[in-house]
Amino acid sequence: MTNHWIDIQNSDCILIMGSNAAENHPISFKWVTEAMKRGGKLISVDPRFTRTSSKADFYAALRSGTDIAFLGGMIKHILDDDKYFKEYVAEYTNASFIVADSYDFKDGLFSGYDPKKKKYDKSKWAFVKDEKGISKRDLTLQDPRCVFQLLKKQYIRYDLDTVSAVTGTPKEDLQTVYEMYSATGQQGKAGTIMYAMGWTQHTVGVQNIRSMAIIQLLLGNMGVAGGGVNALRGESNVQGSTDHCLLFHILPGYLKTPSASLPTLTDYNNKFTPKTNDPLSANWWGNYPKYSVSLLKSYFGDKATKANDFGYSWLPKLEDGKTYSWLDIFDVMYKGEFTGFFAWGQNPAASGANANKTRQALTKLDWMVNVNLFDNETGSFWKGPGMDPKKIKTEVFMLPCATSVEKEGSITNSGRWMQWRYKAANPPGEALPDGQILMRLGKAVQHLYKKDQNAVFPDPILNLKWDYSTHGEFDPHKMAKEINGYFLKDMTIKGVNYKKGDLVPSFAFLQADGSTSSGNWLYCNSYTSKGNMSARRVREKSGIGLNLGWAWCWPVNRRIIYNRASVDKYGKPWDKEHPVIAWDPNAKDGKGSWVGDVPDGGWPPMLNADGTPNPKTKYPFIMKPEGHAHVFGPGLADGPFPEHYEPIECPVEKNLFSSQLVNPVAPTYDTKMDIYRSCDPKYPFVGTTYRVSEHWQTGVMTRWQPWLLEAEPQLFVEMSKELGKLKGINNGDKVIVESARGKVEAVAVVTIRLRPFQIGGNTVHQIGLPWHYGWVHPKNGGDSANLLTPSTGDPNTRIPETKAFMVNVRKV
């Protein structure tokens, strides 16, 4: 989330689309309800009438996988009816930038497409630079090659008739949503989006979100209270685990994983440190080498020296252009290329797309380590449905861990708040905290490498700094301090003396010469000489709900990011009632200072009080090399503007917007278990997956609780009354739901919550089912809905497309 949970209360219009927050993030609704009490409007857009829809001022239905068509229509509406916030768009976004002549868009394809490689040459989408190397701009937004005019051209095709024929949403419903939401383009009004996996789990996932980001920029909703782009994250620490980068492509703090073509640290830093010639752009990522060197110092401690490139060569390198994502892991595993596998606090046999392929892949391993609280479909895969244990060679180690209340440490919520938890009880039996298991395992591996004279390349293992225990127990405080970072020698910065061993006060103090460490620069400032900032408990008494004294928030306790876009060029808040920050020219003895939230940099506003430009200012979007937010996004794999493509499995033969049916760069796989079927009469209905309030993820942490299981005991499938009639299925009947890849048995819920869609003159039915169940427990509770979903996903993120696929449903 760019904003945070409590800030939802400040919104004038909340769009919940790609999420069912009332059901899956129930407490978020405390703040949705508060906004509504204050006069804010709630819009729910979903294929199914959900608990969220039941609370909304307005509900609109759309077919799964057509969000870009829906939102593209909104972009057109905002532009046609002049609803955009002109000053904001011209000054703070790249709408004014001039795009090179090499950029073009024709019939669903952007320029630079290579059909053989299924890849774009993104260099075709560059901006035109002036003689100083600064991007050319037209602040009047009239130049035919400026982003604003290209945006208009892009969405001219997204008229109500076409959008309605694609989405199945009635035209008048589209019109109502567009008018309600675009009213937040007025100065002082804020609209927000609450989305979740309903947007990410598509072959156009990133572009779904980009569509909304463009809308938020056009309406001036970024950086302001009650605005932002808010991903409702689903796991208690999925924000923190992402920040610490348990992902193949990034290192802690969103640094890039090095690749084979970058043999030295200098090559690596040069490649990933963006440059700008514009003195008014902060280009914050220009600090990249300070963060990468400080991370290497945390990995390897004293062993990382300037002479050995701080141990850069010890880091594993990716093959350039190759992906190592979730879908790739199970593809490679299925092909028998792994011998070992860790599933740590995770149940991939039920949680990933195409679960049958995953389950077969596990049989190809020599050994697997599964760390969990309960037995689960992954650890016990060898005795699952259709498996013969005697033929399965995989050794399995199932290690019992502690629950969150049986250990101490921090987690980071969706609003980026790092919050400390304390230990309330001992784990049962021999169960251990994950941190303790990891420390012991790391020590054991180090010992084996130390005593083997012929060990293969032992350097990174032996040199890994692994001293986070106290009296033989994992000490989360030691680790949290290392993540924050230390000064590694005595030094004086801005007139203040720091001693070797002092905690670094914030990432502005990190160095590229090896004199500081920081396990994650984004968390630098979280554990300082003032103590453990994430344990703070001072509630805000008045204000807009920032709660600056409660816990800690990255970066540097900033609660609303991009907040320098919440003010005009003089530093005055656009919204006087909900100021996030404001420039006080009299503060600091007349030097002036920002008040309110921690600003996105302390530089003064763009204009002085007398209207003259202030040369010391910086543009507000400090993480972009140009300092401007991206309406035109030239860095993405599938185009600088979002374009509607059908899901890999879809019910239509033609895309009404172009002759490209599906995302031309979406990945697919080619084993015999990777089957994709569109417009196949065997699988005529659109399928989607979702969650219920009483269960969580694959259900490992909810299926064993009597209260929760009583409330939601088994897998069900929802379908419309019309589909029930068509297939002779009544409420409560046992049915089989089947895709080209697998099938599950479920109880039919025949309901008016789902209705057939009219798509281009045809009736299209959609069904939906939750994915919380598995064969281990409860018996006869049903199996994972991911047995149905395909191995394909977004070309940028490789998040699987589990929200739109094709199925059949029939009575048992």
Binding site: L232, H244, P400, S414, Y449
Partner: protein, 191 residues
Amino acid sequence: MNLNRRDFLKITGASAAGAAILGLGLDLKPIKSHAQTLKIRYAKETTSICCYCAVGCGMICSTGEAGAGKIINIEGDPDHPVNEGALCSKGASMSQLVNNDARITAPMYRAPNSTKWQKVSWDWALWTIAKRIKKSRDASFEQKNAKGQVVNRTNGIASVGSAALDNEECWLIQGLMRSLGLVYIEHQARI
């Protein structure tokens, strides 16, 4: 005097717990009133954050025997600014997650082609896993790729998880796995 519910309970104290409950307008049966007294009188209270979704609701765990025993209650933290005491169905059931007979309480091992689990010691499990790691890594370790570029990686082991772990533990996982040379490192955020 400006009191929130928690201050109210603190002030009225254990001896007046019944009165406090009446003051909240609830009609509790004597047995429930008794449970409330027990919690306040003997339990140690510890703050926590919910383990399910990422709203990050505050919780109060009450542990019996002045903190040395079992968790006897988990409820919403009324002082927490996000949830102000409220919890959803999952959060409100968390004590059943902790105190659950189905939990695994010892390391378990399944041998190749075996039809059952067997209980093993931590020492045996961790040393055996360490040996498996070393064997897999050393056999699959690639110091240079086909182009002759230095890559120092293993293509033989993958790791997934976990968003269910604390930040400090997440850092440990990625540190350990990267030191081993893993490139296939993923978790819930990808799906």
